[in-house]
């Protein structure tokens, strides 16, 4: 499997935030979820990848250096940004004309097919589009120039579950084609649980973990027990999510050792949400479910 994007030791310093020596790798025909809470550095890294911010150090390699110049690389990347970044005074057709002229492989039929699929009217002003419709429009633009890598920054935040599911289905369909990949940042784990193949977790500007979603879920368990059980376990075994006077809930990757130590303890399959919270050391947040 070829590498679509290789980020090597990228750093960027701001006054109040540092993206610290970040490395990650995106495989072809995969949806890679980029998971982190708000302010963790997801947008900063995506902006660096897209050239909207300049890195202080490190290296970014697209498509294993298959393409030599920046224009060709940009032709092969489709982008959906959180804010849209469109000219709101223009209608969909006028904005499309500006964008389409820049891509060498623009496919008008594909674009029209997506407009129809998303029920978008070309004569509608961009300023009159809802957030969901803006996402669909951005998606139509990014999927109409034969891009091999789709980079999306928080595309699902603020969207209802129906549109989110629709997006996941489109992404799933997209990566079925040969050589297509998706890099998708979010703080909503349920979206990734549904569609991601790989998960990269970022926290405070550092990559905490990159692994396949299934491996991440399989190698962790949710542990539930009493406070007495907790006392018998080493702190290294478990990351606590909840602790009350009656008991505790935590996440562990050493579940076999724990089972040996405490045969009666409850071990359950962990959700991505719980694993993510345990990794970043946060509390459960109902909004993010």
């Amino acid at each position: 499997m070829e590498t679509a994007l290789d980020v090597r030791n990228v750093s960027k310093h701001f006054k109040n935030f540092t993206l610290d020596n970040v490395s990650l790798e995106l495989k072809e025909n995969c949806i890679t979820g980029f998971l982190g809470k708000n302010g963790a550095g997801k947008t900063t890294l995506i902006k660096i990848i897209l050239g909207l911010l300049h890195k202080d150090s490190g290296e970014i390699v697209f498509f294993s250096n298959k393409y030599k110049n920046v224009e060709t690389i940009k032709n092969k990347i489709g982008v959906v940004l959180d804010d849209g970044y469109f000219y709101d005074n223009l209608n969909l057709e006028q904005m499309k004309n500006v964008v389409a002229a820049t891509y060498s492989e623009w496919n008008e039929n594909t674009y029209q097919m997506y407009l129809k699929k998303f029920h978008l009217n070309e004569n509608q002003l961009i300023s009159s589009l809802s957030k969901g419709m803006k996402l669909k429009y951005a998606l139509a633009l990014s999927l109409s120039h034969n891009a091999d890598l789709l980079i999306m920054d928080e595309p699902t935040s603020g969207l209802d579950s129906e549109i989110r599911k629709e997006l996941m289905d489109i992404l799933g369909e997209y990566v079925q084609s040969d050589g297509k990949s998706v890099f998708f940042s979010t703080h909503i784990t349920s979206d990734l649980e549904r569609c991601a193949d790989e998960i990269v977790i970022i926290n405070n500007g550092k990559i905490i973990e990159q692994s396949s979603k299934d491996e991440m879920i399989e190698s962790n368990r949710m542990v539930k027990g009493t406070l007495d059980d907790l006392k018998k376990m080493s702190d290294e075994y478990i990351k606590i999510l909840d602790k009350t006077k009656y008991g505790f809930t935590g996440i562990t990757s050493d579940f076999r050792e724990i089972k040996q130590l405490l045969p009666n303890i409850v071990l359950e399959k962990a959700s991505l949400e719980d694993i993510f919270l345990a990794k970043i050391g946060g509390d459960r947040n109902e909004d993010d479910l």
Binding site: G51, L53, H54, Y85, Q94, A101, T102
Partner: protein, 218 residues
Amino acid sequence: MKMIYNLVKKDFLLIKKYFLIMMVFVILAPIFISMRTPEFQDNGTLLYGMLILMVTFMIYHMISMEEMKQKGFIYLQITPMSNNIMVVSKYIVVTLTFLVTTVIYWILSMISFTKVGVIYIKSIMMCFAVIELFFGVYIPLTFKLGYVKLQMISAGIIFLSPFVIALFSKYFSFVNNIVLSLQSLNNLIFIAFTLIWVMIVIIVGTKFSSSILKRQEY
């Protein structure tokens, strides 16, 4: 060419709500001023020059303001479009505004009841050279400083202009001599000289602007 055409069209579409007002201004302002100021009726060069500067400046400012408000420029940065093309499109917008204003003024000057003073080819070319020089500096500054900072600096320059003019007044005769010697040239040579000058200004301005954009962060 298709990219530039769409960029230029996009710039004018961004300010289409001001279009009618601008057209009314371009038509009525010279007529009104010429009727009120008989000095402009014999020779329209000064009035034409002021009108050109005002209109190109206003149009460019409106576009810059919309660019700042709408952030679509950031989307263009992620497309394969080169910075050179984005910058050149701005010079084309200025040049088109200059051409349209010039044609309207010329038509007005041909209609006798408007009292609008006539202009000659050398005045037009001279204004063209000055306008392109002005925007040769102003466009890179917009990319460097952004619309808001540039607005503040422009206001400061307007405020300081009486003092600056007084300071440089001793050089005016020198500039005047150059202008007079240029005007003594044959029309065709003068036009060729102006066009070469404009090309140089646009090339240098584009180079500067592109290098500024390359370093810019969003």
